[in-house]
Symmetry: C2
Subunit: 357 residues, 2 copies
Amino acid sequence: MSNKYTSNLHIEKAKTSKIKDVDFDNLNFGRTFTDHMFICDYVNGEWQQPKIIPYQAMSMDPSARVFHYGQAVFEGMKAYKDDDGGVFLFRPKENFNRINKSCARLAMPEFPENYFFEGLTTLLNLDKDWIQPGIGNSLYLRPFAIATDSAIAAAPSDSYRFMIICSPAKAYYKGTVKVLIAEEFSRSANGGVGFAKAAGNYAAQFYPTSLAQKKGYQQVIWTDADTHTFLEEAGTMNVFFRINDTLITAPISDRILDGVTRKSLIQLAKDNNIECEVRPIKVSEIVEASKNGTLKEIFGAGTAAVISPIEGFEYKETYYELPEIGDHSYSSILKNNMLNIQHNLAEDKNGWRFEVK
Amino acid sequence: MSNKYTSNLHIEKAKTSKIKDVDFDNLNFGRTFTDHMFICDYVNGEWQQPKIIPYQAMSMDPSARVFHYGQAVFEGMKAYKDDDGGVFLFRPKENFNRINKSCARLAMPEFPENYFFEGLTTLLNLDKDWIQPGIGNSLYLRPFAIATDSAIAAAPSDSYRFMIICSPAKAYYKGTVKVLIAEEFSRSANGGVGFAKAAGNYAAQFYPTSLAQKKGYQQVIWTDADTHTFLEEAGTMNVFFRINDTLITAPISDRILDGVTRKSLIQLAKDNNIECEVRPIKVSEIVEASKNGTLKEIFGAGTAAVISPIEGFEYKETYYELPEIGDHSYSSILKNNMLNIQHNLAEDKNGWRFEVK
Ligand SMILES: Cc1ncc(COP(=O)(O)O)c(C=O)c1O
Ligand SMILES: Cc1ncc(COP(=O)(O)O)c(C=O)c1O
């Protein structure tokens, strides 16, 4: 990225804060937004002046390409506060790199790194009262980019908008989760956009997930579209399987999102002397392991919940229950380790924490 | 669909028309819109009062789910005018049914039939001056639906907006087209959303198509994601191959859009005593046929251009050129037949024309 994008952030502060009206103990995920937002338009082949302005609705033409062709990508990250009021991000460079990978795959222009970081840190400084300290609390950050051109030809847009909006979040955790292993529907194809955080990947999962929910499962674990025999990932989480004392997770590919939590957990497993294999894993292998008692844990890994332990899974009309192992589970060990690093309560020997100054 | 959705269309007319400013001889596809638009919101589990209002920008919250999860579907159809000022649609019920199939797959509520037809015909009556008579002229109609809920949880929206916007169009035809047959990238997966006009399907094609364009090809013909050996469809067109005197087109599936033009051409071929086979077709078959001189034509079929003859294709770094056959080509015969039916210039023995009264 050329260095023409040097700092010139414009800031317009909100006249009053909405924070007084927020019940931080009863937050509905993703429905409450902070006082400010970051916005930067791409016009005539250039990113224009980045701005922070009061959070507000925007005017969109009905022909804006995002509505018609789904040319839109996003990220999900969190800011944490420690008891001294320090504000931290977790590996934000990973999210920055990933949104630009997503942009490239969707034929959208990449966003400049210093605009991203200056915007993000300035926004967090302005809205830092919205970050509650304490494990489980965070400010969810949603960078995203959309095609804004007013033209319905099926081709890439000429203009785009990059934004960051922020929403205070409690732990996303809602008890353990039962999952259905996909046998018919699929999430992505070889040569497709599954590895990107492309907007359309998510809507495509809503209907199959709603069918799973009707059967009593909260999530679907996707399998390869081709044979439905290899385990891939869940809707917004990568997945780990523990057989005996070994963790296994599928390799990333053009079908699977390269999750920041996943890659951090692979490293943390190493740091905790837990063996972790990254290799293709067959549904039949976990069914077999469940039958012979060697399948100890399955958990999802993603920014929202860090780790979601999975209670059981259905495959081919049979339900397989996972054993209860409690505090000594790998999921508890790794989750606590991650949360403590994120909240500045544990040593960060991998240099993942990023203090917002 | 229950009959609670009875007619109660609200109409607010534009004070002045923009039509004077439009150069109908130099239209850029999809950039000019008529004076009015149709809009209907879904709130609290119900479609609200449908409205026709002056074409205008709308206010959207940055957290609207369409921006984040691509929960959006659309249709593409055209209105034609004959020399007596009669206005016609072509098989509009097909588009209505298809958008509701798309909605179902994207976990969006289906739209009521009488709202759709009343909205569409009223809109066309209001904006009928925008439809130019003459073959090649039309008013392109874009029904679409988007998720409007202001919440960034990755789940179906609670509220939606259904709209119809209209854009005058000249023949989309831009000379013949060269295509690249996909060997690496793919458009859709088994069990995915390829059969739906889901917004995200289109953005996913922009980057691979841009790579093809750099090599001198205007379009990609997609193959099955799994083996890249079977021919599927192009970005916004189904595809027909003529070997000797037989047309062949791939069967529809959950990966391929059930095109109105495709299904009409299959019938018109029959009506014209042209043999047409609907069956899986291998890339190797057309490569072979090209080599031995039996491959006579390839053409794309879709609402935008009706038929786009293809001049040649590249596969595995080899370019195969199609012979020139001119006016006696099946593509010319069928295209003229279709256009004449659409413009009320030929007998419509299949009952496809729909007069807007
Ligand atoms: C499809 C998908 N897989 C996995 C993840 C987990 O990724 P991360 O750990 O970076 O949040 C997410 C959420 O971001 C996702 O959307
Ligand atoms: C993916 C795709 N295939 C084929 C078509 C052709 O369909 P129709 O003939 O209904 O316009 C379209 C355009 O609508 C399309 O988007």
